[in-house]
Every structure is written in structure tokens, then in C-alpha cells.
Symmetry: C2
Subunit: 505 residues, 2 copies
């Protein structure tokens, strides 16, 4: 990898940020290896993007609102912008734009945006009265449905006033090419604080670096393509994308990839896999972390197993309500797994692998569903260990973008999975923004062509916050799923209490 890591963020925030500024400048000296070039996975998120499939991740969170407003009741937007601006040197790509290499000879690189305008990225809007949760979810869905502007740094923060009880919401969008789910949480911890009083310190002066000369860039990229294995693979894939016999080729690749995962690699056909439109719906479900722990205590498995079992129950009820046959059906969930270690925290970019987890929606009993998930993930982990960590890293470079690309391209024909479920561990202590305590935060995972739902889960301060991002056109019955999820976790808890012999708890 040619990017330089930023090291541990907490440490950096403590000391004077001189080192960061040093790393940030002087990146584009003559030596070729200093470009901040997108990885192939990062770049694949750009290739896959379309109006119907925006490729940003995001979240909506709510805060105690009082401290956001001045004495006249006006939102302190200038102060909020100043706070965000003061931390941008910790996440340099938030001030960078994409520069493509001439004649498409190579992946784009990141260069400084000379017209960077904080007012474009940090916005304020409001909910109509009475400012309900439902209205916030509608606004979130609208904002998240829209593409980010490729000609600007690929992120937006929307503060929202007008919520019930004087609360403030924050809707964030960050392009997947910039940051994956895990480092996304790190970014949030840069913008958020661990104490009510925001630690504002003047940032180092920002010096705009001019982009490299076009010809230099072209020459370097051609050289890289010719010598780097990853680029050779990329050229191969580009060739396969050709219009002549593309479908045949992708199907062939699909077959060989699927053999990696055994014969049951293809996911069953359900209404969850339908070509999505441009508009989304969003909802959030909150589950007590304590309850999940109780279930785990009663029946074993990991926290993740309990979550996936709970999700399975919700999806079962949804498909049943849609009148679809589910007897004996096992959905396949694509679960991104982070393969970054601590040294890589805050180094933006994607280091993910994937597990394909069976969701046993065909089993009517909640405990049986949990046991099935538990056995399956245990089995998967065994297999994973056999493959070894180094292969997983290689998978990141070569297989993961291919898988995602195929998932999107094979569309309604041959999906390998029915939905994405991503589980991001968050801090268990309160976070603050502008002095206001964060109450909840629901993450957003993007949809691709034939996936009508993405489920993203964040644990924060004693709760699991489940963000349900669905296609408006093919998934109009989101409220059915939201209630079904609550019921499903409730059933698991009830059975756990029975098992533990404390039904009166």
C-alpha cells in the first residue's frame, strides 16, 4: 500500500498537530510513489455508482439540542462550521477532490480542492412542525437518496433543527470511496467529543497543494499499470467489461467464484432482490444491548449471532406478510468484515472482507434460528482461519471488488446474497457535538442494483441502533419490517428470560 497511515488518532489529537500538517503537505513531490491514489476497491465504488445506486455511507443521529442554539434561539451554524473546519486537518481527504488520470490510464488520485468551501459541506435545514421522528426519517431518506457531487470533497453534514423536545439531528454522508464503515466511526470520533465542552483548538494553516502535472501523472500511471499485479488484474477486469460478451464472461467468473463457497453459493429468489430506483425510505430500530447480552447468556454464540438471529426473525415476518413462500428458506446476508488492525485506524480507504452468513428465515422458532446462525458462523470462522489472514488481505485487493461488482452487475439473475447486514461496533460512552449529548445514531449502508434493503447496525452507549435503508419503489412496507424486528428481538428476550428462569425480570 502506498498511502501513509496517520497513526493513532487519539494520540494525534493530544499533541500539537504539526506532524499531521507535515504529512499532509509535501505529498506530491517528484517521487512517483507519493500519490494518494485510490485503491482498486475504493475505485470500484466510483465505477459502480449511478443515480440509482449512490455509493455513500452515512448516518443520522440525534442530540440534546440546547447548546446548539444562541440566546435568541438561533442555531449557531457559523460556530458549527468553525468546529468542523478546525478538525479537517485530521482527515485530509475531506478537503480533497478526485483527479482522474489522463486517458484513463490508472485509478484516480486525491488532490487538494483549491475552492474548498466549508459552507457547502456543513448545512442547516429544519423539520416541519411538530418535528416527529417520522419526519426526520423522511428527511434522512431524501438526503441519502441524492448523489454526492464528484467535483467536490465527497462528504456532507446536515444539521437539522425543529425536532420535538428541541433536539438537533445530524445527517452525514461520506462517499464509500473515501471511508468504509469502520473508519467512518473513527471520523465521527474526530468530529465528535468525549466531553460536553468541545475541545476547540486552532487548526494548522492549510496550504493548497497544486495537483501533479498531467503528463507526469500519465507517465507514472502507465508505469504502475505495467508493473503492479493489482493493475494487471484491473486491466483484465476492464477487458471483461467490454460490450462484446460481457454477460457470458461475468457469468463464468460468477461460477468460478461461487465454487469457492460451496454449492449453495447462490441466494434464493425473493422480493428482496428487485431492481431499485432512485428513491429511498429510512427507519431506525433501537434494541437494548443488555437484552442482547441476556439472549447470548441464555443460548450462547456471539453478539453478532444474536443480532443476525434477530434480523432473521424480522425478515421472516416481512416475507410472510408479503405472502411469499418461506418454508425451509435460508436467506444469504453479505456481512462486510473489517480486516484492518489498530495501526490502520484512521487511515481512510477500505480494508474489508466479507462473510456470507445464512439467515434461517424458514425456521419458525426464534431459538432454533439463533442456533442455526450460531452453527453457521462458527463454521464460517473455522473455514476463514484455515484460509489464513494473509489470504484475506489479498481478498481485499482482488476478490472483494470483484464480488461487489458481480453482485451489482449480475443483478436480478444470479445474486450471491439477498441483502447486506453490517454491524459496526461503536463507543459505549456518551459522545457530544457542540456540547450536546448524542442520544442515538443510525447508520446507512448503500444499496446496489438488485438489493432493495441494506441493514446497518451501530452499537452506542448501551443500545443497538439498527438503520434500515430501503428502496422506496420496491420496498414500500418498511413499517412492517420495523415492527417485525422489534417483535423478533422481543421474542428472543422472552425465551432467554424463560431459559434463565427469571421470567419476572
Amino acid at each position: 500500500m502506498r498511502r501513509r497511515g496517520l497513526g493513532n488518532v487519539a494520540g494525534m489529537q493530544q499533541e500539537c498537530s504539526g506532524d499531521v500538517a507535515g504529512m499532509y503537505r509535501g505529498r506530491y513531490d517528484a517521487e512517483m510513489s507519493s500519490y494518494d491514489r485510490l485503491s482498486s476497491l475504493d475505485a470500484s465504488f466510483l465505477h459502480l455508482e449511478s443515480l440509482e445506486t449512490p455509493m455513500h455511507v452515512g448516518a443520522v443521529s440525534t442530540f440534546e439540542g440546547e447548546s446548539f442554539f444562541d440566546s435568541t434561539g438561533r442555531f449557531q451554524l457559523a460556530a458549527a462550521r468553525k468546529l468542523v473546519a478546525s478538525r479537517l486537518h485530521l482527515i485530509p481527504r475531506f478537503r480533497k477532490i478526485l483527479k482522474s488520470v489522463p486517458l484513463h490510464q490508472g485509478r484516480p488520485i486525491w488532490v487538494d480542492d483549491p475552492r474548498f468551501d466549508i459552507a457547502y459541506h456543513v448545512r442547516l435545514t429544519a423539520l416541519p412542525s411538530p418535528g416527529t421522528r417520522e419526519q426526520l426519517m423522511t428527511l434522512t431518506a431524501r438526503v441519502q437518496s441524492q448523489l454526492l457531487d464528484r467535483s467536490r470533497p465527497l462528504w456532507e453534514l446536515w444539521f437539522v433543527e425543529g425536532l420535538e423536545e428541541g433536539r438537533v439531528a445530524l445527517i452525514q454522508k461520506t462517499h464509500h470511496a473515501l471511508v468504509d464503515g469502520v473508519s467512518g466511526v473513527d471520523v465521527a470520533t474526530v468530529l465528535l467529543d468525549f466531553q460536553p465542552e468541545p475541545a476547540f483548538r486552532p487548526p494548522p494553516r492549510w496550504i493548497v497543494e497544486p495537483p501533479p502535472a498531467e503528463l507526469r501523472l500519465l507517465a507514472d500511471s502507465v508505469w504502475e499499470r505495467a508493473t503492479e499485479p493489482a493493475e494487471i488484474v484491473r486491466s483484465l477486469r476492464a477487458g471483461l467489461r467490454g460490450p462484446s460478451n460481457a454477460l457470458e464472461n461475468t457469468t463464468r467468473i460468477a461460477r468460478s467464484v461461487s465454487s469457492l463457497f460451496g454449492t449453495d453459493a447462490l441466494a434464493p429468489h425473493t422480493s428482496l432482490n428487485a431492481l431499485v430506483g432512485r428513491n429511498r425510505l429510512f427507519d431506525g430500530v433501537t434494541i437494548s444491548f443488555d437484552d442482547v447480552h441476556r439472549v447470548r447468556q441464555a443460548f450462547g454464540g456471539t453478539i453478532n449471532d444474536v443480532i443476525l438471529a434477530g434480523v432473521s426473525g424480522g425478515l421472516r415476518d416481512l416475507l410472510e406478510a408479503r405472502g411469499e413462500p418461506i418454508d425451509g428458506m435460508t436467506l444469504k446476508a453479505f456481512c462486510p468484515v473489517s480486516v484492518r488492525d489498530d495501526a490502520e485506524r484512521m487511515q481512510l480507504g477500505n480494508r474489508v472482507s466479507a462473510m456470507f452468513v445464512p439467515l434461517p428465515v424458514g425456521l419458525p422458532d426464534p431459538v432454533e434460528r439463533l442456533e442455526a446462525v450460531r452453527d453457521a458462523t462458527f463454521d464460517l470462522k473455522e473455514r476463514e482461519q484455515a484460509v489464513g489472514a494473509s489470504f484475506l488481505l489479498d481478498l481485499t485487493h482482488y476478490a472483494a471488488p470483484t464480488l461487489l461488482g458481480l453482485g451489482a452487475r449480475l443483478a436480478h439473475r444470479q445474486p450471491f446474497f439477498n441483502l447486506v447486514v453490517t454491524n459496526v461496533p461503536g463507543p459505549q460512552v456518551p459522545l457530544y457535538c457542540m456540547g450536546g449529548r448524542m442520544l442515538e445514531a443510525f447508520p446507512v449502508v448503500p444499496l446496489t442494483k438488485n438489493l432493495s434493503i441494506g441493514i446497518a447496525i451501530l452499537s452506542y452507549c448501551g443500545n443497538l441502533h439498527i438503520g434500515l435503508f430501503v428502496d422506496r419503489d420496491t420496498f414500500p412496507d418498511l413499517p412492517v419490517l420495523s415492527s417485525a424486528l422489534e417483535n423478533s428481538f422481543g421474542e428472543l428476550l422472552k425465551r432467554a428470560e424463560e431459559q434463565l428462569g427469571e421470567p419476572g425480570r
Copy 2:
């Protein structure tokens, strides 16, 4: 033309709408000519559209707010949706979506949207406190910057609460392929009322027509293409769009078109013509219609001449503030002219021609500018009459899309005009929505690739409302232009009062 006109709308609103329903249904019987097919100009607005150049027209208007809210202070969104829904049968395309012809053999046709959802199209949002005019303009720019969803009927209405003094705003977007500026006003008059009490009457039952069978449609389209002159021209143009020598061909066409307009056909190079990005800014300037009449009284010419002279003065100051050389410079404005007669009112679709009007920004004296505009437009009208009305109608079919297409495609190389200025006459009596009186309405005209500003003017109830829609990236100094426009009209009025000998007025 193969579309059926809807006749006079006012008359239709009076009588029971049985006739309309009759026209609306049974449109897709076996006879080929009954398709509601896009005209070539309508279709060109689809071809030209991109993320950077959304092709919708729109407006933002404000209303006295009281009657929009119920006794608990909540916006009556359900009632607003019901009102809009009750009038949709008068504008059937508002419930239709585009259906492309198989294998691209012909322009798309309009078919009923079977999943039409009024809640998608009629939305409610809010401004942050204190709800200033500036905040409304920011919101308008954001909403207007976003593409309409091609898979739905191509319009959106956004009600906005939270304005100062309890007012309500309405932001509307309608795709240019659906409706041009002139019939856009007619649409507004359908949704708006001439009296405070909204005339609600239950609409006729809407029966969704299934789209024509794919094969039938393909066969018909191939037949039409082979036999219709317009389609032959279209095929020719499609051929010219080929990748081989497209630029050379368009340049050649440009030269021959430009010869139609004399040797001065090309517009001067200024900062107004720069490649635009995805984001916009918006502002509105209000000028008293009485003042414009006074100027006309003093110096002659048409109302339109006075408006164009006022706009010239504003643009002069803007370019001067940018430090650009303007001595002796004459900008070229593209002014769409409606060629529809009364029988065609409310027949959606585009029937426009264009005038290229010189804007004499190089002249320092406001009255000299007015005289120059007056002489030029008089000359243009003479020439137009010589060409004859029937040629103008032909121009609509063949030349106008070509001109617009070229204007967008030749981009920064060879623009024929520096900006679009469109002047839409509106009603001089008050309009109402949900019982609230409309106070002002600023129209929005879309930008194309190398046009960083579009000026759209609506006269309403004693005022001229000038909507300034500019590219955020290349036109950050919009407030400079807004003030300059006010000053420019102020100067003209001052000179008129002097001329008329009533300086103390």
C-alpha cells in the same frame, strides 16, 4: 402534431370534466397515431440532461401562510395533497411516466404510472429559524439543483413552512420535456385559484391505462420513422452524434446555422460562459411594473425592451466588478418566444422559437442601452415577419432543438449566446393556494453546459419578479448582480422621471 389538445382550460374547469376523462382514457387503442409521443424538442430536453444540467423549469413563490395551518399550528399537508390530486386530471402528463421504445426506434411515449403516489410529488419541508428570504433562496437552489426521477412523473411540489411572518413558500419543479415556460403558467393556474376559497370538486375516477405492447410499439415506431419527415431529420441528427467525426459535423452545422443570423452570430467571450457544476445559487429581484411602464412612457419601446435594458445594466456592473473589459461589448441573450396560439393553451409540450437579442453592456448610459435594445428588437421583429409565421412553426420542429443542442454541445468553444433571458407574462390579479394569497413568484430557467446564468422573469400582480439561477461554482458573486439589477432599473426610472418632468414623484 399527433397529440390532442385539451382546449380552453377555464372552460373545462367550469363544466363537469367528463370530456377530459374521455380524452384521457382510450388513448392507446389500436390506431397507431394515438400514442402520446414526445415531440423532438421535448425529447431533446431528455437527451441533453445530465447531473450538471438538469432540464426542469421551476419557480419559488411565497404566500400568506395562515390558511395553510390547522388550529394546532400544523401544516395541512393531507389537504394540500388532496387539492393537488383533485386537479391532476386537467394535466394528465402529471400522472404519466416515460416509456422508451424498444431498441431505441423512436422517441419515448408517455404512459400512465401505475404506482403513482401523490405523497412522493407533494412534499413538505421547513426553513431553520428565523426563516429569512436568504434561507429560502438557499433551499430553492438546493431543490432546483437536483434531477427529477425519470422513473416517475416528472414534477415535484415542495411546500415550505417556517418563513418569517408565518408565510408559506412553494417550490415547484417540472421537467422541460413535460411543459415549457408558457404552458407552465397555465399549469400553475390549474393548481392555483383566482379566489381565496379553493374550488375543490371531486375528480373523475382515474383508470390506469396499460402501456402498449412492446412489439406493437416497436413496429409502429419503425413505420413512423420511415415515413415522417421529422423522424428522418432525427435519424440524421442521431447519425451526426456518432463518435467518429461528431465535433467536425456539429461545427459545420453551427456555421451554416449562424449564417442565418448574419455575421455577428457568435457571442463574445466572457466569464458568463464557463462549464457549470452540479450546484446552483438562486436569488429573486422584484421591480415595480409601474416603474417599467414609466420608463416605457418616457423612452418608447416595448415592456420587454425596458426589461432587457434593465438586465443589460445589471450585467454591465457585474462584469465591471469582475474586472472584465466591456467597452463596446454586446452580449447575446437567447430569448425563447412562444409560438403557441390560444387554441394550444394547456396542451403541454414545447412550442417555442427563439430570438437572439443583443444586450449592449458596453454602453455606459442607461437610456442609450434602452435605445439600442429597442432598435435591435424592432429590427429582429421586422426580419421575423419577413420570414413568416409558418416558417417559425417549422423552426420549432427542426431548428430550435438543433440550436439548443448545439448551444449545449459546442459549449465553451462557439456559443451563440451568453445567457438565456425568458420573460413570461403572468396574471395581474391575485392568485391563491389553499386560501393563502400568492405574494410573489420567481421562475427558474435551467442552465446548460456553458451557461452559468439563466434569467427568468414573471410579471404578477403589479410587479416583475426576476429569478436569477446561477451556477454555484462559476458564479459565486450572485449578490453583486442582484444589487446591480436593482440599481439598473432604479437608474432607468430616475432618467424617466427627469424626462417626464416629474422628478418629485
